[in-house]
Subunit: 238 residues, 2 copies
DNA sequence: ACCTGAACACCGTTCAAGT
DNA sequence: ACCTGAACACCGTTCAAGT
């Protein structure tokens, strides 16, 4: 299962986010031509310019000026590369002043998270597993859990509250980015439009009445409003 | 862009879900060896037995007893196949008795939706675009919008409330199925565990204090609890 | 220790031809 | 009208060898 002669096992990423060199002596053997940092930087360029779909090991090797196989000497596989890239993005999240009031503090933190992800929806897929924006973005989670406790929740319920907000956020990004992608590919008139155009008012009266406004209604950005409703429901009444 | 000689354009799916034959005369030409229904049924078998990842055009052709290219004569591309499959699953959603009380009615409808998706998380990805479980599952949306209006929301706000619930549900399924997949592949000790094992209590005191309970806390199923909080926040106070 | 070329076992989709 | 074989332009990853 391990690469012959390669160093397997995830290398710890330091708090400042700089990838540390492996602890081994570097004196012996052939000097490296490419580094992890080079690889991540190249991946970053590709993703920003062409999207994640284009981030293939071959494309990345070309960008680095090497061969696909050289990459496997620095990165276990494509998944590990994505985690590395994630950390790289997480480090770039702005850390704004947040309101003191717990409820508003949670909302503000969630909005920061949302805005970062909305710009790069592909992060959500890579992220969903670990429910955190990489180690360097854990402060957002800390803020939410802490504020939820300050608002009167137990530790357990604070974590569950954070999770509910995380679910809501992931869902919003997922749905809206998928819808955006759909709209981008014009050729197909969207299954949804077709369905809504021929609703039976006897069976689905509300939807039939709303059919012509449906697209407009579901295109409005309601993330913040829904978030506030969720937070209101999660925190003890004031 | 269109298949030479093939019939492009999405064919309407009838309300009973049976795929109607194309309106053209069928008298002339070579008789078909496989039908759309055959293809969808075969796809269904593969997905249930081996997962969506294994649903490739080649694998599907083998299951149908044909060649990959024959499929393209019945289905525009892989995406259309997924929509067809979606409809097929939507038709199978049980339609239980729902409570009369608006708030409980919404919760019950959301739970139906959630349970169906939780069993087949891959549907969410295919679905997210069209924010509906295929035409035959639109009754769930109707129920939610109708109940939200019965609870006192305007039509617009009722749609937005439904959307918030949809986001929350999609997110929950996405996150939890990703986590499940992670847990399934044992070899890698999960980036998260590693990060949580070495938190700095000075910087992230809440998370550090919760570190050893984190996995347990985030494995609990809190969908229903979060859903109730969200619905409480969305509907006017009673 | 680090990098390479060739290969394995796949993808979705198109083209041109056959019945 | 429907189906086929061969091919195009890709994937991630492994193996064995080179420096």
């Amino acid at each position: 299962m391990s690469i012959p002669g390669g160093r397997s096992g995830r290398r710890r990423v330091a708090d400042d986010g700089v990838v540390p060199p492996p602890p081994q002596r570097r004196a012996t053997g052939r000097p490296p031509r490419i580094s992890r940092a080079d690889i991540v930087a190249a991946a970053h360029r590709i993703v920003d310019a062409e999207g994640v779909a284009r981030l293939t090991m071959r494309r990345l090797a070309a960008e680095v000026g090497s061969t696909p196989m050289a990459l496997y000497h620095h990165v276990r596989d494509r998944d590990e590369l994505l985690v590395l890239l994630l950390e790289d993005y997480a480090r770039r999240i702005p850390r704004p002043e947040l309101p003191e009031q717990p409820r508003e503090r949670i909302v503000a933190a969630a909005l920061v998270l949302h805005d970062v992800l909305a710009e790069r929806p592909w992060l959500v897929t890579a992220l969903a597993t670990d429910d955190l924006m990489g180690a360097t973005a854990l402060w957002i989670v800390e803020v939410m859990v802490d504020a939820a406790m300050a608002a009167g929740l137990s530790a357990e319920r604070a974590v569950h509250a954070y999770r509910a907000i995380w679910y809501y956020t992931v869902g919003e990004i997922t749905v809206r980015s998928a819808a955006g992608r759909q709209r981008a590919s014009r050729d197909r008139p969207s299954y949804r439009d077709e369905v809504f155009a021929s609703l039976d008012p006897a069976e689905l009266p509300r939807l039939a009445a709303l059919a012509d406004r449906w697209t407009a209604l579901t295109t409005v950005d309601t993330y913040a409003a829904g978030l506030r409703a969720l937070v209101d429901g999660l925190l003890p009444g004031s």
